[in-house]
């Protein structure tokens, strides 16, 4: 591959090629090449310049990666961190740099990697970006093979990246300072955007560097994935599995650790497709919408009493509707009650409010009366549904059935439902010496 060759060349001829890279558009390459070789610090500086200009064109995370990385002791480790893995134990990379460098030129690996890279297309652009800190890679993926990877339509439920920003999330995936790079990188360009918005941005910026960066990416991926025995590899694998989770490349390991990788990644406002999920912009938007709706349903579940065990949206909606209806009926009933109560001229608000505090005690003392009071409207309401639904009884006080049955007989004598309710309301009132069936509903307070 061209990149591999360039990389090889870079090992030997650092200085000359460095300056050439930007002009050729292989911006990312020099950075890696620099890191890969054990060149001296001076070598880094020009690359730093390159990178800084590069970072300005791109997103900040790239430049930051470079700034951060080039200060590390080991070029190789830095390079690897900046380029691919964000592995925690960067220093260990030094030792393994050589074997990795050796791997680079292997055409077989590169060839193997090429088809795998498109797998990133299964993930959204931002996924890949966050994974690798390299927008071009994601952009490549998106542009080239959006549909190459098999993408099952549904993932495990809606795990959309919610809008709650979690800045420190990346730390779990990319242990080092890499994660903040990612944060800025992905958050910077489109803080309010979704995947759709991000893609065109990066596409426009990263087009020229597509081809050069791609093989490098693949190589890095291969290096990451290939050897699994090493301890540091394990760490990388974990992180990489997260990064690769959208790609079928890592298959099983991604499955094992997709949870680790995917969870921390969701801190952006824009949505990322999960592994195995459709990456269509429509489906992503739909997923966001569904997540919002489910979040609100959960909130409603807390509000409506007795809905803790309900797990269906339809059933939950039924409960909500019933609850709202019963509340409105209660308001109606209470207003009726208030209409018949003899008003006291001196309305002491504080007293009422203090009574409100001890409302629960009042309720308890009145026990069934309140239940009847609350339940009565359900019986005599003029709503189309005459049956008394269970939820109504659930939130009103139960155990008032015997009295209710007697009450139900009473209304027959009355033509007006209002009067029925009044009677029902006043029956349990201890101060009102009420009459059994057809008692006059005159106020006897």
């Amino acid at each position: 591959m061209g990149a591999g060759d360039n990389g090889n060349l870079g090992f030997q001829q650092r200085g000359g090629s460095l300056l050439n890279y930007p002009s050729s558009g292989m911006m990312y390459m020099p950075e890696k090449v620099v890191g890969m070789t054990m060149s001296t610090m001076p070598m880094c500086k020009p690359s730093n310049l390159v990178d800084s200009s590069f970072g300005s064109a791109w997103d900040p995370f790239v430049s930051q990666a470079q700034n951060v990385e080039f200060q590390a002791s080991s070029m190789a480790s830095r390079q690897i961190v900046t380029s691919h893995y964000g592995v925690g134990s960067l220093e260990n990379q030094e030792i393994s740099t050589d074997p990795r460098l050796v791997q680079f030129p292997s055409d077989a690996n590169l060839v193997n990697l090429v088809p795998k890279l498109p797998c990133f297309g299964s993930g959204s652009f931002s996924d890949v970006v966050s994974s690798f800190g390299l927008p071009p890679c994601g952009q490549i993926v998106n542009s080239e093979c959006p549909s190459d990877c098999p993408s099952s339509n549904k993932e495990n439920g809606t795990e959309i990246t919610s809008t709650s920003p979690r800045d420190g999330v990346h730390a779990t995936v990319f242990q080092e300072d890499h994660h903040h790079i990612l944060d800025e990188g992905t958050g910077g360009p489109s803080p309010n955007g979704k995947k759709r918005k991000r893609v065109p941005e990066s596409h426009s910026q990263l087009d020229p560097r597509q081809s050069e960066i791609e093989p490098q990416r693949e190589v890095s991926q291969e290096i990451l994935v290939g050897p699994k025995e090493q301890d540091d590899k394990k760490q990388k694998k974990e992180q990489n599995a997260g990064t690769n989770s959208r790609c079928k490349l890592t298959g099983k390991q991604a499955k094992d650790q997709s949870q680790n990788g995917e969870g921390p990644k969701e801190d952006y406002i824009h949505v990322r497709a999960r592994r195995g999920q459709a990456t269509n912009s429509h489906s992503l938007a739909e997923r966001v919408r569904r997540e919002k709706i489910s979040e609100r349903m959960r909130y409603l579940q807390d509000l409506v009493p007795g809905c803790n065990k309900i797990t269906g949206k339809a059933v939950m909606l039924d409960e909500i509707i019933n609850y709202v209806q019963s509340l409105q009926r209660q308001v109606e009933f209470l207003s009726m009650k208030l209409a018949t109560v003899n008003p006291e001229i001196n309305i002491d608000i504080e007293q009422i409010l203090s009574k409100d505090v001890s409302k629960t005690e009042i309720l308890h003392s009145r026990g069934g009366s309140s239940g009847i009071l609350g339940f009565a409207p359900a019986m005599s309401s003029s709503l189309p549904q005459q049956h008394i639904t269970q939820p109504d009884g659930a939130f009103l006080i139960q155990g008032s059935n015997p009295q209710l049955t007697t009450m139900s007989q009473a209304p027959s004598a009355w033509e007006d439902e209002l009067q029925n309710v009044m009677q029902l309301g006043f029956v349990p009132n201890p101060t009102v010496d009420n009459l059994g069936q057809n008692g006059c509903m005159k106020v006897e307070l």
Partner: protein, 171 residues
Amino acid sequence: MVVCLSIYPKKSLQLYLASMNSKSLSSNPCRKTSFTRRFLRALAEIRREEPNSSSHVDISRRCQRIKVAAYASMASAVGSKRAWSRAMICKVRNRAICRASMRQKIKISKWKKAVANKHRRDVNQEDELRRLVPGGKSMDFCKLLEETAHYIKSLTTQVQVMRSIADYYST
């Protein structure tokens, strides 16, 4: 008869400003107390205007007024932050403006619609919810759920206060 309804907004503002120093009784102290004050004012107003007769018609009319007053007070207490409260305030004001005959016609048409709905087995839950929550007709589902949650909270507060008032009066 509906004159008092139109003066709610002015009164409510004064009441709201006056009720800022309130006991914190619940998670929404200001809202609860402001609602209480407004509602009590409205109650006093209604009682002042109508004699406390025991005829069914009077009582039913008074009940209707009290109910509207309760909703209006709650909507004013919540303010304009919520779509449902805005819709409620508009509805109350329109009610006040509408003539009695027009209201009657509207009632009849609504009753007919309800009858038609009864026969429709598969009344969509979402439509039902839109019907219940004020202002729910012109909202997307997500917003509707949000408004429903807030509406439920306000309704429970309203019921609590009204029940405590009723209990206070009956003891």
